[in-house]
């Protein structure tokens, strides 16, 4: 039990929040509400899983929010232009992958740090989405696109089904496959990876393509929900994706990934948002709550590490003082 808790410490706050909301509200435990929370969590969890790989590699991608917008725009515009829906969705995913490829090339071949490179593509891609739509909504009415979020194969909402599949795949990939271990190897010690002959650049590019594609998929989910695409969608989404990864316990500096942590963090954040809605809290306070939660969670994590790790290695205090 305690070992499981150490691996997924978010279970405790999640249970507390659920208990609190169950007692304080009438509607939280209703089936429809729970499903609503899980669908929203699933929508952020899928790109969060891709971002988990990126952080495990010791890097992050800020351009995702804009990719969401561009992918939604590409998909909706294509549908408006008469492109078959499946092909339109594929185009949107390709657009996301292409943005990822650009990020990967800029980071590896031009040697620009990921923060700057993806900050730049964040701005550029947003500009592309706005330019393409000339600032207008691309409104569609497509049941096929709607199915992506609203469909219920086997009675399970489509996003939840997809998130479960993605979680299993991500967990297996990062913990058990060669590629996943390479990603963690690069995050753990990139120079060592280079000297040991790992194809470091190819690994990094692959991860940016993965995150870009996931961003495109996120855009499809949003387009499916709203039945439109425009240049304003996905503002700040990149931070949502990074938040669930960090809150889930993946090391910000790379080397270790917590796939289940990412999923739990997505559920926790959506539960809190939902609860605050039910308690009629204005959206501004919801943002403040999520921010405070992040600080609290990471502070607790840091404290725990300091207690358990002990001064066996070089104490940080020595480094600070001597340097």
């Amino acid at each position: 039990m305690s070992a499981a808790l150490r691996k997924a410490p978010l279970v405790v706050p999640l249970l507390l929040v659920v208990l609190f909301l169950a007692l304080r509200t009438d509607s939280f435990l209703s089936g429809g509400n729970i499903e609503n929370v899980l669908v929203n969590a699933a929508i952020v969890a899928v790109p969060g899983l891709a971002m988990t790989f990126c952080l495990a590699m010791g890097e992050f991608d800020l351009s995702v929010g804009s990719t969401v917008s561009l992918a939604a725009v590409v998909c909706c515009s294509a549908i408006i232009d008469g492109v078959p829906v499946l092909l339109a969705m594929l185009l949107a995913l390709l657009a996301g992958a292409l943005i990822g490829l650009v990020n990967g090339m800029v980071v590896t071949k031009l040697g620009v740090t990921p923060f700057i490179a993806t900050l730049a593509t964040l701005v550029i891609v947003r500009g592309l989405a706005l330019a393409y739509t000339d600032g207008h909504d691309q409104i569609v009415s497509s049941p096929a696109l709607k199915y992506l979020v609203g469909g219920r194969p086997l009675g399970v909402p489509m996003p939840i089904l997809l998130a479960v599949l993605a979680t299993a795949l991500a967990w297996w990939s990062i913990n058990r496959t060669r590629f996943g271990r390479w990603v963690c190897a690069v995050g753990s010690n990139r120079e060592a990876a280079r000297v040991s002959g790992l194809p470091v650049d190819r690994i990094r590019i692959a991860i940016y393509v993965l995150v870009g594609t996931a961003g495109g998929f996120w855009g499809l989910l949003i387009a499916s929900q709203l039945q439109k695409g425009n240049g304003q969608l996905g503002l700040g989404f990149e931070l949502d994706a990074i938040t669930v990864v960090v809150l889930g316990g993946t090391a910000l500096l790379g080397g270790r990934a917590s796939v289940l942590g990412t999923v739990l963090a997505a559920v926790l954040i959506e539960t809190i948002r939902n609860g605050l809605n039910l308690l009629n809290t204005p959206p501004a306070y919801q943002r403040i709550s999520v921010g405070l939660l992040l600080i609290a969670a990471l502070a607790l994590l840091g404290l725990r590490r300091r207690v358990t790790a002990g001064p066996a290695t070089v104490p940080a205090a020595v480094k600070e003082a001597v340097v």
Binding site: R181, N189, A193, V195, P311, V314, K319, A321, V322
Partner: protein, 515 residues
């Protein structure tokens, strides 16, 4: 000379001919010759900056030569990337380990060559764990293949690197300063591993500053100086004095003579100090003008002693007295304010600010003092003054105060950090491994400096895993084992045998007080 399969008539397995490597403005290697025979241990020695690391990096596929040729088994060998070197059977173990701390031992050993299932794509963990265990069996050690590397000791990590080299079936295993971070005991075991590798028919290129190891394990030795080949000889045909002379290009004394005179005034006194389970009931004194050494096998509590004195590790029992007053630092800042200078054992991880100039690196600990009285702005003139002062005293060889510290040799970097520890002007200096990874010439200079400091009345507490250094310049030595003081040696008792005896057996040796 020890192995029969290294007859001089055999064509060499690896042949380096007139190798030149140039970097912008520097010729790191200049027409170097070097060869390795099958099944021999070939030592490569030279001061820092002699070109050893550059040669290793050419062999490992990290640097490309500007001229010259390398032949492996008679064929041209031109690795373009590290993977090429591994495929050719040349495994280089660099001084900075190339391990992934977050991954398991087996994952590290088979990194890049993991066997995996065709359909599941899953790594075959049972297989790599078993094969890793077999490799450790060859090396005669027990390391859990499923443990993460960050849970291992430095010497175990070294063995993981060697297992990695074996796993690619390295015909030539190149080790760069493999014992730099090991205790004497661990180093002895490593030398056994090197001999095992040779008996397996593999060749080892052994780079080391420690000539005793070279003479203990190598068949031949090549000396490099300033990027040039100086001499290659069978170990039987040379001796340590000659090698030192060839390395530095001049004769130097083996150890600096003691100049300091121990006074009676006790500067630091520890009485029954404990720190959790890491230190138990440690009592020691350091007097003005004295160099007190601390020895023992790695992990016996040496760094922890320096950390409690420097306020980086809280004490759980006992008392400390500094300069005659009770002393209980809550942080390194307290310790510095009280007048204690500290040199960390890990120059790279906890010392150098590689992107800053030598001036900034040296004065960083005293910047508060170098501000203008009125404006509170940093005074470049005062900073330059302090730097010039230490540059002269410590004989720091640099092109100027603005040179980046990363461009200096290890020995000069260490002198800058020594200056940083001295600049606050404390009465007690704690030196952790003051000459680790510096060349013989700089080592001698640093020893002289420590001597001069004590002659001026400073007290020095030195932790060193280098026994000749510990015995050569300390007035007294405390030996630690399991976080306890198990020996106190002075005068005629200061011998290698006594230190090793105390550190590794039940025997306790306490020289009579008042020596």
């Amino acid at each position: 000379m020890t192995a029969d399969n290294t007859s001089p008539e055999d064509p060499p397995l690896l042949h380096v001919d007139r190798l030149t490597v140039e970097f912008p403005g520097v010729r790191a290697l200049d027409g170097v010759h070097f060869d390795v025979r099958g099944g021999e241990v070939h030592a490569l020695v030279g001061e820092n900056g002699a070109g050893k690391s550059t040669l290793l990096k050419v062999l490992g596929g990290l640097h490309r030569p500007s001229a010259g040729e390398v032949r492996l088994g008679g064929q041209p060998y031109r690795p373009r990337r590290p993977a090429d070197a591994l495929h050719a059977g040349i495994a280089v173990i660099y001084q900075e380990f190339n391990l992934y701390p977050d991954l398991t031992v087996a994952e590290n050993v088979y990194s890049g060559r993991e066997p995996y299932g065709r359909f599941s794509r899953g790594i075959r963990y049972a297989e790599i764990n078993r094969r890793s265990a077999e490799l450790f069996g060859i090396l005669g050690v027990h390391i859990d293949p499923a443990a993460t590397v960050d849970s291992l000791t430095v010497s175990e990590q070294q063995l993981v690197e060697i297992a990695k080299a074996l796993s690619v079936d390295g015909r030539i295993i190149v080790m760069d300063e493999p014992t730099a971070a090991l205790s004497a005991d661990e180093a002895t075991r490593l030398l056994d591993v090197v001999r095992r590798l040779r008996s397996e028919g593999r060749s080892v290129v052994y780079v080391s500053h420690r000539l005793d190891e070279v003479f203990a394990v190598a068949d031949r030795v090549t000396v490099l100086r300033d990027g040039r080949h100086v001499r290659t000889a069978a170990l039987a045909d040379t001796d340590p004095d000659e090698l030192v002379r060839l390395m530095v290009g001049r004769d130097i004394a083996a150890a600096a003579p003691r100049a300091g005179v121990a006074g009676d005034e006790v500067v630091l006194d520890l009485a029954g100090v404990s720190a959790g389970r890491q230190l138990r009931d440690v009592s020691l004194t350091v007097r003005a003008g004295e160099i007190v050494g601390i020895g023992g096998v790695a992990g016996a509590g040496q760094p922890e002693v320096s950390q409690v004195i420097f306020g980086a590790l809280p004490i759980t029992a006992g008392t400390m007295t500094f300069d005659g007053a009770p002393y209980r630092p809550g942080s390194p800042a307290d310790a510095m304010a009280a007048g204690i200078g500290f040199l960390h054992e890990d120059r790279k991880a906890a010392g150098l600010l590689p992107d800053l100039s030598v001036r900034d690196n040296l004065t960083i600990s005293v910047l508060g003092r170098l501000r203008h009285a009125l404006t509170r702005l940093l005074s470049p003139a005062a900073q330059a003054g302090v730097f010039a002062d230490y540059r002269n005293r410590l004989a720091i060889r640099t092109t100027g105060p603005d040179q980046l510290i990363g461009q200096l040799s290890g020995g000069n970097q260490q002198k800058v950090l020594l200056g940083r520890a001295l600049a606050p002007g404390g009465r007690l200096l704690i030196l952790n491994e003051p000459t680790r990874g510096v060349d013989i010439g700089a080592k001698f200079e640093i020893h002289q400096l420590i001597n001069e400091l004590t002659a001026d009345g400073a007290a020095v507490l030195m932790i060193s895993s280098d026994l000749p250094e510990l015995l050569g310049i300390s007035d007294r030595v405390y030996v630690l084992a399991g976080g306890q003081v198990v020996g106190h040696l002075t005068g005629a008792d200061l011998t290698e045998e006594n230190v090793i005896m105390c550190a590794t057996t039940e025997r306790r040796i306490f020289s009579p007080a008042g020596v």
